[in-house]
Point group: C2
Chain length 613, copies 2
């Protein structure tokens, strides 16, 4: 395959319908981006600013060139800290790209930059700074990003009711400051995945007391690949709301394509390093060694990967616990390590070398995503001994990482029926302290291949409410094939629904702002506002126009489903107008109360003589 010719011509740029990019002055003059949705003047409402993951791509004033990448936003912050050094990085080897050559070798990213690392013996993790009481620009950026919504909610306060929700173990303040973010990172309850070599990053936080985040997976495979194709998948994912993106590439050109992705990514990029390591040994799990793995970690640390999924909890003694399972081990990384363990009759080298891995990660500030290699792949296997034994080990490893101030989140399942979902959150807290939980779904039933974004969206919304900090999306193609662009969009929007539903249920102080604004628009037949405030404005308008295409209908005071005579909202408004509308709500209230008063005097037996009519 030739990655270049296979690539689509363009990367998607430009704002979403009805939205414009706005910036709020941030740390060291760095602007913090938001997406502002203007409402129709008839609404008498101010514009609504939304959390914006889409990066510069949705700013018309930004001219994107895929071979130049994004601005090095964080460079001044990192230089100012003065605790890192640039050095001659590791040489890229043919095996880093699966020995692809000639037409088959994806080109290297044209702009080269020397990697940086902590000065000898240093530690440059956000957790390290936080524990030393240092508020970083990254923390300030996050604070502004998450708090503006709250300030806005207060401006809308007249329209908002009291805070309302069941937060479970979350403690969500009315206002957050950079120092509060620092405290959350210091105690390990939140992470800010931010490799010092990922200068293009717009920092974000993952933690129970922040907005629930979602991850989208991309990546080329043995079957298909392409630079612009992968970058477009990234841009497309964040356009719809992806907070982080994992590059799960296998096959050739892993190194080069990842470089193009990182240089063009404003969101944290995660990887599963063992995938590349396995490619380097020709796919033979038994041939993996610590040295090859270690070399792969350095390679990816230097490129700027922000978090690594590492399956260090798949311990030798746990593997027999999977023998009776319906679907055994379904994690790729988990099965690779299990095979290695059994072939060598040795403990997992990721476990035995865990402290060595921490040493590497703290020099670049790469966060752990401790992989759940023994997660259930079927409802029948949910919450079994193998799964929870591994979870206990992940808790043990969390403390090891925290001893070196390395940031950690914990991966969770998988396939779990509804009645077993909450136990996963409870046990994760029990064993892993406050380390953020990051789950894949879970899927609440196994019988709907082709609709697993939905089977998993149900479990994701529930576990998000219970306290999961980030939800890894599942697309409709799960179990069946490789997602295309449309699958990615559906997966991301489905997970934005789950994450937002969780924020609402937890009682996040600003979450309702958007729901209420959209519902008011719906009630007042402000169709364009309804479209523009929705998670997928294009889809919403497309569906509306399928039934009522005419422009006139965008202002029609009825829904196409019912037609004018049957539109409940129109009738309700008629009622309010006839019997005292919003304008004279007081009168309406009184008028109606008088009536019901009169009614009560007449007594309220169940039957009246039909003559009463």
């Amino acid at each position: 395959m030739n990655s270049i010719t296979k690539a689509p011509a363009n990367i998607t740029v430009g704002p979403l319908p009805g939205s414009r990019k706005v910036y709020v002055e941030g740390p060291m003059g760095v602007p913090v981006p938001f997406r502002e949705v203007a409402l129709e003047p008839s609404s008498g409402e101010p514009p609504i600013r939304l959390y914006d993951t889409s990066g510069p791509y949705t700013d018309p004033s930004f001219v994107h060139a895929i071979d130049k990448g994004l601005p090095a936003l964080r460079e001044p912050w990192i230089m100012a800290r003065g605790d890192t050094e640039s050095y001659v990085g590791r040489q890229v080897k043919p095996e880093d790209n699966g020995n692809a050559s000639g037409d088959y070798l994806a080109p290297t990213f044209p702009v080269t930059r020397q990697p940086r690392r902590a000065k000898a013996g240093g530690n440059v993790t956000q957790m390290h700074y936080a524990r030393k009481g240092i508020i970083t620009p990254e923390m300030e950026f996050v604070a502004i990003r998450e708090n503006l919504l709250r300030q806005q909610a207060r401006e809308h306060v007249d329209r908002l009711r009291a805070r309302d929700g069941v937060p479970h173990d979350a403690v969500i303040p009315d206002d957050i400051t950079a120092d509060w973010v620092r405290q959350e990172v210091a105690c390990g309850r939140a992470i800010i995945p931010a490799n010092i070599n990922h200068l293009e990053l717009e920092p974000m936080a993952i933690g129970r007391n922040f907005l629930v985040k979602i991850n989208a997976n991309i990546g080329n495979s043995a079957v298909t690949s392409g630079i612009a194709e992968e970058v477009e998948k990234l841009v497309w994912s964040i356009r719809w709301g992806g907070d982080t993106v994992m590059d799960l590439s296998t096959g050739r050109n892993i190194h080069n394509i990842r470089e193009w992705i990182l240089r063009n990514s404003p969101v944290p990029i995660g990887t599963v390093p063992v995938y590349q390591a396995l490619e380097k040994v020709g796919g033979i799990a038994e041939d993996l060694t610590w040295d090859i793995f270690r070399d792969t970690l350095i390679e990816q640390c230097e490129q700027g990967v922000d978090y690594f999924t590492i399956h260090a909890g798949v311990r030798l003694p746990y593997i027999p616990m999977t023998v009776d399972r319906v679907t055994g081990i379904v994690s790729r990384g988990g099965s690779i390590m299990a095979k290695w363990c059994l072939a060598h009759h040795k403990e997992n080298f990721l476990y035995t070398h865990f402290a060595d891995i921490c040493e590497i990660m703290k020099a670049y500030d790469v966060s752990f995503s401790l992989g759940d290699g023994l997660r259930p792949g079927a409802g029948a296997d949910a919450n079994d001994r193998a799964q929870f034994a591994e979870l206990e080990t992940l808790g043990e490893l969390t403390k090891v990482a925290w001893d070196q101030d390395v940031q950690v989140m914990i991966e969770g399942p998988g396939h779990v029926p509804m009645h077993k979902v909450q136990a996963n959150m409870i046990k994760q807290r029990e064993h892993c302290g406050d380390a953020p939980f990051y789950t894949l779904g879970p899927l609440v039933t196994d019988i709907a291949p082709g609709y697993d974004h939905i089977t998993s969206g149900i479990g994701a919304a529930m576990i998000g409410w219970f306290g999961t900090a980030m939800l890894c999306y599942v697309t409709p193609k799960e179990h069946l094939g490789l997602p295309d662009r449309e699958d990615v969009r559906v997966g991301v929007v489905t997970y934005k629904i789950a994450a937002h539903a969780a924020d609402l249920a937890k009682g996040h102080p600003a979450a309702r702002l958007r729901d209420d604004a959209l519902s008011r628009a719906r009630f007042e037949f402000r169709w364009m506002d309804q479209f523009n405030l929705s998670l997928d404005p294009e889809k919403a308008q497309e569906f509306h126009d399928a039934t009522l295409p005419k422009e006139a209908h965008k202002t029609a005071h009825f829904c196409s489903m019912c037609g004018p005579k049957f539109c409940s909202m129109k009738i309700t408004q008629d009622i309010r107008n006839e019997f005292g509308g919003d304008a004279q709500k007081g009168d309406a209230q009184k008028g109606m109360s008088d009536m019901s008063e009169k009614f009560r005097e007449q007594g309220s037996e169940i039957y009246r003589p039909s003559a009463a009519e």
Copy 2:
């Protein structure tokens, strides 16, 4: 519009992929239908029989003619009871069809049949029989239909684990008998919607202790209509698993189109009679009268409608409680009655005439679906005074209906954030005793028009688990437009997911059978079995083939997502083969335990000297 020319040529018939229709001898020789999925011989597993809502349409030996309708399955049962009489029915009037004429008048159904009703003073409801200790063929049919799955589960018992679930207030027996069904109906905890004039019906039950059911809405509107079009929507809905169908038609030809639907429907048909009544008074709510409504009830009872949504709980004194709402009254029927009440300054005539309505319904055995006319249309309005005041009244009316042995279910919301979902189920039980709950969603957020099958599927799965007996589907077009055939399919499958997830979580004894069988197929790379056992076999295979079209890949021992080297399930199987596969599980267990034993002796410190590798 000319309904005939607009109609599609064909009604969808024929079995689903990999399935065949089988029948189990039922009451009075009437066969109870199931869908049997045969598995690949390599599985060594018996075929799996699934609950089948699709009616004769999926039986290749049945030749369907839309103008003849379905066989009169229940005729001998009803005649045998000898408590009904046929009579000259009400004359069809021009206004029954919105005064459509000429080309615009949909043709009448060619086969005419005199309606039947209870002999003077009689009562022919399933509840009436149940309370007299009579087991009807309808109850027997339901018992076989719901119990066969359990018998099957027992045959698979070696593969099944112990029952597992959190049933909340459900009491789900290991086995059910016709007499148990009778008891559930007698106490009002379940209903069997079965109008004596709907002879084509394959009886089903709606109740907390039965499988969770789903309803699909169809119906023509002012904008579009067509006989074959509506019948095809019905057939399409039940093909994917719709348990009941509501005809929400408005506009012209309501009477004639409903006749074609009923004569071709093996599932209960529900309606909202006030829609047709409103058409009869030209859409002017104030002009509605008890006489017009009563006449409409008789009209629909004679045709065989199985349940009526009646908004008798929208009482005059509750209407002022909606004035402060974000979206006021969003139920069509609710807003119509509210407008009538205010216009006349009188109590809702459906409330004052409720006992009269019961008198009519018990003569045909039409079940109540007590409408929640004041349900919330936005998360902000969820669980408010208006909603719960109406719910209390529905509880009061339930007792009135039960006094006359009329079957009742209660409609519920709507738009409800996750943390307020369970309160709806609890209050419904508190006020309405054990009458089955029938909810629309609920939607857990308002910000995703275009994806409201998902926002509502999340709430539906949860409330189904908590005890809701039937879930009314929502399609992707909700709030935006009229669902097309594909929307109906997506809506139904989404709700089958929600209902099945609820059955799993409640611990239904047979629910896991299908999940486990599909998961085993997945693990053993029996692709066709995986497709055929899924809720939408065509979609599953279509998605698979999009990536790996070749026939060979249907037997490929890897997933297209990962390719052979990265397929965790393949690796797990290699492990089992190398270290003792399923065949010698004992050995495997032992072999692996020995290893982990050895490992423990070595001690399990977190770090080992790297030399250990």
